[in-house]
């Protein structure tokens, strides 16, 4: 029997995103978002939907591909909205993202699209970076928040070298790590000296939001 309870816009968007139904998701976004208030759309609709999908993934109730596609659909919508020269999100830090040492980019892409969908601009350094190269890049771009994705345990442990170098040089960079090794060993992010660990893309976004609010 169908429920007669009205479906909330967040729930409707989440359902459409989980089904990778781009058309329905865009309809919902067009219906409930005001083009002159993209930030309201992000904070009131997109972020809660993506957060819920991220939580589902952490619990094993959604797949990584759904998290990835959901971010992409929302990112596409946000990119189509008029933005001020400063970007949609006011007072945002300088954000960078990279994959340390290997070429598995899905985690990075998922976090990047979720950040973009939430109105953040992100400097993408790509994959296969060594600590030395990455350190030069983040210094040069004056990055304030760095997201680091790793797949292999060895790469996760290499974050320690980056953190040591950041501290040695007195840089003020918040490093947030993610990826399989950190999911399986929940103390690993502390061991390597990073500032935080994001279980999923939406948690990564919320960590920047916390910094800026």
């Amino acid at each position: 029997m169908e429920s007669e309870e009205p479906v909330s816009p967040v729930y409707a968007l989440e359902s459409a995103l989980l089904e990778s139904d781009r058309i329905r998701a865009r309809e919902i976004l067009r219906t409930f978002c005001r083009p002159d208030d993209p930030y309201g759309c992000i904070s009131g609709l997109i972020e809660p939907a993506l957060r819920s999908i991220g939580e589902r993934w952490s619990e094993g109730a959604a797949a990584l591909s759904q998290v990835y596609v959901s971010g992409k659909i929302c990112e596409e919508y946000i990119r189509g909205l008029p933005a001020t020269p400063a970007g949609i999100r006011p007072d945002q830090p300088v954000i960078g993202i990279a994959v340390l040492e290997d070429f598995h980019t899905l985690g990075k892409e998922t976090v990047k699209t979720a950040l973009n969908a939430s109105g953040y601009r992100v400097k993408d350094y790509g994959a296969g970076l060594t600590v030395t190269v990455l350190l030069d890049l983040i210094k040069q771009d004056e990055i304030e928040v760095l997201f680091l994705s790793t797949l292999m345990l060895r790469a996760a442990l290499a974050v320690r070298q980056l953190m040591d170098a950041i501290r040695e040089e007195g840089l003020s960079i918040r490093v947030i790590v993610g990826g399989a090794p950190f999911l399986f060993d929940e103390d690993l992010w502390k061991e390597v000296g990073s500032d935080a660990f994001a279980h999923d893309a939406s948690e990564a976004v919320s960590m920047v939001s916390e910094d800026t609010e």
Binding site: S20, G60, A62, A63, L64, S65, Q66, Y68, V69, E101, D102, F103, H104, T105, L106, E109, T110, G128, M152, L153, R154, A155, L157, A180, P181, F184, D185, D187, L188, E191
Partner: protein, 346 residues
Amino acid sequence: MTRNEMTSLERTLATLSHKEPDRVPLFLNLTMHGARELNQPIKTYYAEARMVVKGQEILRKKYGHDCLTGFCYGAAEVEAFGGSTLFFDNGPPNAGSPPIRDLEAISSLEVPDPRDCPPLLRMLETTRTLADRYGDSVPVAGVAISPFSLPVMQLGFSRYLDLLLSDDPIFRSLMEVNKAFCTTWANLQIEAGATAVVYFDPVTSPTIIPPDLARKTGLPIAREMIRSINGGVVYHLASGRSLAIADDLMESGAIGLGVSALEDLSVLKERFAGKMTLIGNLDGVSMRRWSAPQAEDEVRAALSKAAFGGGFILSDNHGEIPWQVNDSIISAIAEATRTYGRYPIV
């Protein structure tokens, strides 16, 4: 009553038949640790089949576990497609930049012959030597990456997902090439003497794609591949979850399943009992920081959840024990399995 001591092969075959052997078989997936034993850099170690054979022999003698393998590293399969491998001194080799840059090139992609790829040839030689020397008493595992998961290294993960989700005919073209390659590669290992092939298919896991999509893509491909492989096949989701596609996995034709530490072994046992032998699920990542008593506790917990009635092989949950796991912990796991894994388990 003490049961007669079985060989590793007898022990494994008994548990695969869902009978209780003398004790729970232990598969320590030590692909890199042989390099440490031989005091060689990992890259040098993998460069000669005779060294990997020696490494496997030393490790089995040291830990007394129940399997050997000629498998070295997954990126070798992508080398057959023109890819590269990055080597490190303290971890597994990794695939370099994805070799297929232009999706249009897939329509003219030819099926490479694994025998033309030096690292795959070395794995075959290793498998053959190990099978000749020990195949009558120890299982020798082969490994083939599924046609459905190989594109993660061929294209890069996000580009592959974009292709998979777009329902593009190019996806089907790529699968045809990969299926032909996978069948040849798996059967070459069987011909070389591998007791069974581990079909490595993380993308089909509900951790990566939704079950409905897996049922239209990865799972039918797996069934086709498992039928085409002339030997026993173990399905491995490489730490990915399995419960949401349990029925499909049980119908895949695979005799065993590598299960994740993300799922409760008791629930897995209940679901797969009598249908698929479970292989797992010690978490390799956190294993690095275990103490010896903790290793014993972890082993005992796994045994108590999944060993009864057979159909269980104790192993790590990913298919490879990280380089950073100390010998003392591996010894503690092996010792605890010998002590507490003897049937009947109380």
